[in-house]
Symmetry: C2
Subunit: 529 residues, 2 copies
Amino acid sequence: MSASARMKHFGWGREGEGLNAEEEAFVLARAEARFGTVLKESAGAPQLEDIKLEAPRVTAPVSLAFCTSEHYDRAAHTYGKSYPELVRGLARDYANAPDVVAYPRSEGEVAAALDWAGSADATVTPFGGGSSVCGGVEPTRNGHKGAVTIDLRELGKVKEVDKTSRAALIEGGTYGPALEAQLRPHGLTLRHFPQSFEYSTLGGWIATRGGGHFATLYTHIDDFVESLRVVTPKGTLESRRLPGSGAGPSPDRMMIGSEGILGIITQAWMRLQDRPTFRDGGAVRFADFFAAAKAVRAIAQAGLYPSNCRILDPQEAYNTGAADGSVAIMVLAFESADHDVAPWMTRARECCADHGGIPEASGADAHREGAAGVWRNAFIRMPYAIEKLILRGVINDTFETSITWDRFEKFHDAIKSATANAIVEATGRKGQVTCRFTHVYPDGPAPYFTFHALGEPGRLGEQWRIIKGAALDAVIANGGTVTHHHAVGRDHRPWYDRQRPPLFAEALRAAKKALDPQGLLNPGVLIDP
Amino acid sequence: MSASARMKHFGWGREGEGLNAEEEAFVLARAEARFGTVLKESAGAPQLEDIKLEAPRVTAPVSLAFCTSEHYDRAAHTYGKSYPELVRGLARDYANAPDVVAYPRSEGEVAAALDWAGSADATVTPFGGGSSVCGGVEPTRNGHKGAVTIDLRELGKVKEVDKTSRAALIEGGTYGPALEAQLRPHGLTLRHFPQSFEYSTLGGWIATRGGGHFATLYTHIDDFVESLRVVTPKGTLESRRLPGSGAGPSPDRMMIGSEGILGIITQAWMRLQDRPTFRDGGAVRFADFFAAAKAVRAIAQAGLYPSNCRILDPQEAYNTGAADGSVAIMVLAFESADHDVAPWMTRARECCADHGGIPEASGADAHREGAAGVWRNAFIRMPYAIEKLILRGVINDTFETSITWDRFEKFHDAIKSATANAIVEATGRKGQVTCRFTHVYPDGPAPYFTFHALGEPGRLGEQWRIIKGAALDAVIANGGTVTHHHAVGRDHRPWYDRQRPPLFAEALRAAKKALDPQGLLNPGVLIDP
C-alpha cells in the first residue's frame, strides 16, 4: 500500500486522524448551543473486530496476486463517507462488503481484474479514495454472484510532464497530495483542491465531475482533462491529446461524470497551471446573504475570474467561527503566476462596495488569515466533526446544487424552508439550515446547503432520509440540479431520475450496454441496467 | 421564407451577393501572381434551369403544408459549401437532391416531419444555414426510399430573455444577424461570430461545435449552451437550465457536435454577454510565425483571456493584403462591458515584446483598422472568392486542427510540407500553403491551414481529394484533430474514424440506435448506421 497509515474503516481519513481536543470542544459547544441541550454519546464507532462479514461468494485466483479477501480490506471498502453509510456502519451493517478487493499495479492488471470479474459473474465497483459523500462506492451484487472492488491506489504516478504545454500524464489512482508533490519540482500544479483533497484521487475527481479550488471559470475538473484512458469490459478507450476539438461529441465528456458505470479511468493527460506567485484577496462583510450574492453576480458577470469568490450566510459564518452571526462573509481572492492582480482585485472590491460590502484588511496571504482563514480551516476539518457528532445523535449533511440568477432568491428560500420544515417533521425539534456558494458562473451560483438536526439514536437513517428527501424534492421542483459537484451516487439517484432527460437515460443505457454488456460496472448507479 | 433574398443554389450567401469588381480584381491578381499564369474561366456556375433533378421518390402529404418538392428548394438544399460540392455543382451533378424540403414553423411540425419521414422510409438531413464547408448537409438515401431535408429557418425567434442571468431562449433556426438583432434591445449579445455568421444558424453552430468570435476561453459554442431541446424520432429531449452541474455525463455534451445524427435542435437557452464598451487592440508584427506563436503561447498561458489573439503567417498576411509578406501578424484585442482593459493589453503587449513583437499604432477601433482590419475584411469576403476562382480551375480549401504546444512546430512543418508536396503530386505544379491560428488554449493552438493549387478543369475533385487527403493524413499521423470547429461532415469522415476511439464509436452507435432506431437521421455522418 502506498500510504503511510491505513485508511480508516469507519470515518474520515486515515487511522489516527481526527479532531484535536480543542477542535472537538468547539464543535461540541456549537452543537449543544444549537440544540439547547447536552449531547451525550449514545453509540460507538465499530471496531474492526466488531464487524462480521459473510464468507466471500467469489475469490480471486492465485494468479491475481493483487487481489485480497482480507477482513480489513473488505470492511474498509464497504462504504464511502455519506451520512447514511455512517449510520449503517454504526449499526454494524456490512452486508454489502465486497468479496474481493483488487489493488492493480498496472493497467494490464485492471483489465485482468475486469476480465476475471466477468468470468466469475461479479459486479465491479471502481474505488478511488473512497471519500464519496453520496453513496458512490458501496458495492451491490444486483443478482450477480459476487462483488469486486477495484481500488486504484497503486496507480499513483505522474508518468510524463510536458512543461511547454503545461500538461501531465497522471495515473487515475493518484491521490491529491501525491499528485501535487510530483508536479511541484516542475513548477506546475493542477490546483484542484476539493475538501477531500487528501483522500481522493484524480480518477475519482474525473468520474464524479468533482469541483475544486477555482470558484469561477475552472469550477469542475472537466475542463482540465486533455485526454483519457479508460479500461472497459470491451477493451481500452483512449482519446487523443488535444487542446480543443470539434470532431463529433466529445468522447471525454461521455466518460467525465460516468461514475464508474462505463469503465475505469486508468490515466489522463491533465491541463496544469504555473504555481501562482501573485496573490491578492481577503474577506468582505455584507449586511446579508442576498446583498453578498448580488456582489458575487456582479463579479461573475464582469469577466474578472477570481480564483475564490465564495460567500457564507451569517449562520454558516458563525458556525465555523468566521464571524459573529450578524454578517455574511465573502472570501475573495485572485492569483496569477504571470501578473500583478491588483487591477482585478480593485475592480472586484468596487463590485462589492456597490452592494454594501466592507473589506477586512487584506494581505498577500489573506486567504489564510482573518475570517477567510478561519473558515478555510473549519472547511477542511469539518468531515472529522461529523463522525464525532453522529455518536451523539446529530444528523449533519450537506447538499449542493446550482440555479440561474433570476430564480436564485426564491430558490434559496424554498430549499431552506423545505429543509427546515422537514427537520421538525422528522425529529420533532428545530434544526438549522445554512447556505454558502462554492462556485459561481455568469448565469448563476452553486449554492451549498448544510443542515443540522438532533435525531434519535436508532432512527438516524430514517430521519436523515426524510430531511434529505424533502430538501432534494425542493431542489428538483424549483429547477436546480441534484448535484453540482459531489456526484449522484446511490443517495441522489431518485432525484437524478427526475432531473435527467428520459431519452438521455435511454442513450446512456445503450452506450453502457455497448461497453459493459454484462452490466457489471457499478450497477444501479446513474441508470438501471 | 424569412430572408429578403433567396439563398444561392450555388456558391456562398444570398442571390445577388458576391465580390465587387475591385475585390475580384485583387483576388484574381493575387492568384495569377501565385501561379505565374493568366487564369481564364473554363466553367460556368450552373443556372437553376441547367439542373436536372429526378422526380421525387417520396412526396409529403398535403397536410404537411410546410413541405415542398419545388425545383429551387431541392436544388438549393443538395449541397453545402465545401469545395468538392462546388465541383459537383459545376458538373451539374444533383443526384442527391432531397425529394422533399420541409420548413417547419414549430417544434410540433419538426416532430411531424420526422414522423412522416419515418413512415415514408425517408432519411432526414437537418439543415441550418447550409454553410457547411465539410459536406455536412448533403442528403443520402443510404438504401432508404427517399430523402427529406428539414430546414429550420422558420424557427428564428428569440423567445425569452433573462437579463438577470444574461441568457436567452433562442430557436434553433435563428440566423446570426437575426439573433443579434433580437438581443440588441436588451443590451445583450451572444458574440458568436463565425465567418459564416450571416449564413448559419444557432442550431447549426451547436450541432457542429462551431467556433466563433473569442480566440480564447469561449472558443466554441459549447460553453455558451445552458440547455437544449432536441427532437428525436423517439420524442423530445430537454435538458434542465443550469449554470453548472455534475449530475452524470452532460446530456448537452452528447448533443453538442452530434451533427444531426441524434436529433434536431429546436431551441436552446444560451449564455450571453453584455455588449462590450471598453476595447483595446491592434496588430503586432513579428519576424516570423514561430516567434508570433511563442508570444501567443505566453499570452494564452498568462490567464489574460483576450477576445482576439490570432496570428497570420507572412504569406497569409500578404495574400489578404494585411502585410507585405515579410512579417507575421498578430491580431490582438481585449474587450469588456465592465472595466478598462488597459492593464490586460499592457501585459499582453509585454508578452509580444518578449518575442520581438512590434505593435502597430492602436486605437479603440483598432480591430477594424490597419492590418487587423484589412485581414478581417478579407476573412469575411473570402468565401465569395472561392466560387469565382473555381471557374478558373483554382483549388482552394482550408482545414483546421489543434495540437499541443510541445508538438506544434514539428506539426506545422509536417502538415505544410505534406500538403505542398501533395499539390505538386496532384497538379504537377507548385501551389501554396499558409497557416494562421484561429483559437488558442493554454495547452496549444488551433492552426488553420489554407491551400491554393491550380488544377485541371474536369479533374478538380480528384485533385482536391489527393491534396486534402494528404493534408489530413499528416494531421492525423502527427497527433492533431481532423477538425477544430468546422465539423466532421462527410469530407472528414475517413480521418475522423482514425482519430475517434473505436469504443466511443460503439457507444455512439448504440446511443443513436436508442434515439433513431430506423437510422434515418444523417446516415453515414460520424458513424455507419
